[in-house]
């Protein structure tokens, strides 16, 4: 009988645990270890951030669902990895520390036969001086509680404008020179703009996009060429068209390094140090690994075998210039090469390199987006990892038949551009593949134009809302949940 431990209960960890439990007989144990009590549907946090959804609309408690489905659950955080066990424990284990209830602070060795590390990113606010949600007039929408705080801040600003008839400045984008997740900030800026129109104060507010992208619409994916109606359009032109239409200004190639009360200090690619003032800001922080340590049987530090910031998997980590990057550098099975019973799908794996072209400022500062790994690829990679483990358990050997490189996978991004049943809007985009394959699609920027398209309109809002309800239904593992694709 096998024991599979899943670290993390975000989209990746939850999807892996759900599929493992559904497909494995009950005599195999599936255990989720997560410091979070709740599952949150992160893509809807932007609606919490404008007050059009409540936090309770985007999360549900994990423990009752896991209890009902026969999935073990410990509300604890991983402390260290021991893939060979130690002097007193023969089996590999993860040292975890409970974070809630009577056991809070107590550490425990959680043994495993297979380990799925789906711990996602650490929101590294500390890498930007003064960037902390709810301070210096700056907010985040990375979690539902951050988003609720942002909504309160935005409402306070609107009230102030209405009372004093004064003007205000809003700054939204990335809060670090190598931040990613531009898509979330893009959705938020468009939703904030629509809300200001709805509340009748749009003419009093200057809205500015600030980003480490070299061009608009880069999204950490080197931008894309896409089909739009009957024409072909660069994503940069599409985003510029939308920003111009909404009267949104932009600052590009900006590495925000310091925040003060109502001030964002940044360096640009020209090497200039500038300051942008604001009355309300939402800036996405840098993401980092969790700083886990790993030890062998003799308690010797073997962290470099497991981690390179995030977890090392079957990628080609050889350092090489941008011109030599290929899709073959990207992992296919998310298996750690040193310990074949450890996997890291979703955001937990170390990418071989960025996707966007690396750029340095004249002062030598790296200013470019890190690669994005959003919910859909997280779900797909988690499911294929679960399927490979299921095969290994049932067949008795590791065949790794299930593969999914980001260079051979499509992604959909339904970016909300305003909330409302008939007044809402959304930008529906698909990209195939996520990591551009410049050899296969030579003349179309590495993407298949039949599968890479964009569309703007009310239908996009309905689609985003449909995904919200469908994926929460799926995450709650209600009847036939597995029919909904990742």
């Amino acid at each position: 009988m096998s024991k599979i431990v899943v670290l993390g209960a975000g989209i990746g960890g939850h999807v892996a645990a759900a599929h493992l439990r559904r497909k494995l007989p009950k005599d195999h144990e599936v255990l989720v270890v997560s410091p979070n009590r709740n599952y949150q549907w992160v893509p809807s946090n932007i609606w919490v951030g404008i007050g059009r959804m409540k936090p309770k609309d985007v999360f549900f408690p994990l423990e009752p669902v896991y209890r009902k489905k026969g999935i073990g659950y410990k509300q604890a955080k991983a402390v260290s990895f021991h893939p060979e066990g130690d002097a007193s424990q023969n089996k590999p284990y993860v040292l975890v520390e409970y974070v809630f209830g009577e056991k809070a602070g107590i550490q425990e060795k959680v043994t495993y036969d297979f380990l799925i590390n789906a711990t996602g990113p650490k929101l590294a606010f500390e890498l930007t001086e003064g960037l902390k949600p709810g301070t210096n007039k700056a907010f985040s929408v990375c979690t539902y509680d951050h988003a609720e705080q942002a909504s309160t801040g935005l409402n306070a600003l609107v009230e102030r404008i209405k009372k004093s008839n004064s003007r205000a400045k809003i700054l939204i984008g990335t809060g670090h020179a190598k931040a990613t997740c531009q898509g979330a900030a893009f959705e938020y800026i468009l939703n904030v703009e629509r809300e200001l129109v709805r509340l009748g104060v749009r003419d009093k507010v200057e809205i500015t996009w600030i980003s480490n992208e070299y061009t608009l619409g880069d999204f950490g994916m080197d931008g894309m060429l896409l089909t739009y109606g009957n024409s072909t359009l660069k994503s940069s032109d599409m985003v510029e068209m939308i920003f111009r239409d909404r009267g949104i200004k932009w600052i590009l190639g900006a590495g925000v390094f310091k925040m003060e009360d109502g001030k964002a200090h940044y360096e640009n690619l020209e090497g200039e140090y500038k300051t942008e003032e604001f009355d309300f800001a939402m800036l996405i922080p840098a993401f980092s690994g969790h700083g886990f340590k790993a030890f062998d049987k003799d308690n010797k530090d073997i962290t470099e075998k497991l981690f390179k910031g995030f977890m090392i998997v079957d990628a080609d980590y050889t350092a090489k210039p941008y011109e030599e990057w290929t899709v073959q550098d990207w992992p296919e099975t998310y298996q750690n090469p040193s310990y074949p019973n450890i996997f890291a799908p979703g955001i937990a794996f170390a990418p071989p390199h960025a996707i966007s072209k690396p750029r340095k400022s004249k002062n030598g500062t790296d200013i470019f987006p890190s690669p994005p790994r959003t919910g859909m690829p997280s779900g797909i990679t988690a499911k294929l990892v679960a399927d490979n483990i299921i095969d290994a358990i049932k067949q008795g050997n590791m065949t790794l038949n299930h593969k999914g490189s980001l260079g051979n996978m499509g992604a959909a991004c339904i970016a909300s551009a305003g909330y409302g049943t008939t007044s809402g809007s959304g930008i529906s985009m698909t990209t195939y593949p996520i990591v551009p394959n410049y050899n296969k699609y030579k003349n179309t920027g590495g993407r298949d134009l039949k599968k890479t398209f964009g569309d703007i309109g009310l239908a996009g809002h309905w689609l985003k809302l449909t995904l919200h309800y469908a994926f929460l239904y799926k995450a709650k593992m209600k009847p036939f949940w597995w029919l909904i694709p990742e």
Partner: protein, 50 residues
């Protein structure tokens, strides 16, 4: 040439009747792309990008 959203495009984008059909079309198109399978890449001979 700079792209702009024309007034007629804007009307189409927010017309609920047109958008119902768009919603069905987009749902099917996106489903086909994202659920259309995925796989590895390493059977392809790796060449540096041009």
């Amino acid at each position: 040439m700079r792209q702009e959203i024309s007034e007629s495009q804007r009307l189409r984008m927010q017309n609920p009747f047109i958008q119902i059909f768009k919603y069905i079309y987009l749902s099917l198109k996106i489903l086909k792309i994202v659920a259309g399978g995925h796989g590895g890449t390493r059977k392809v001979i790796a060449n540096p990008r041009p």
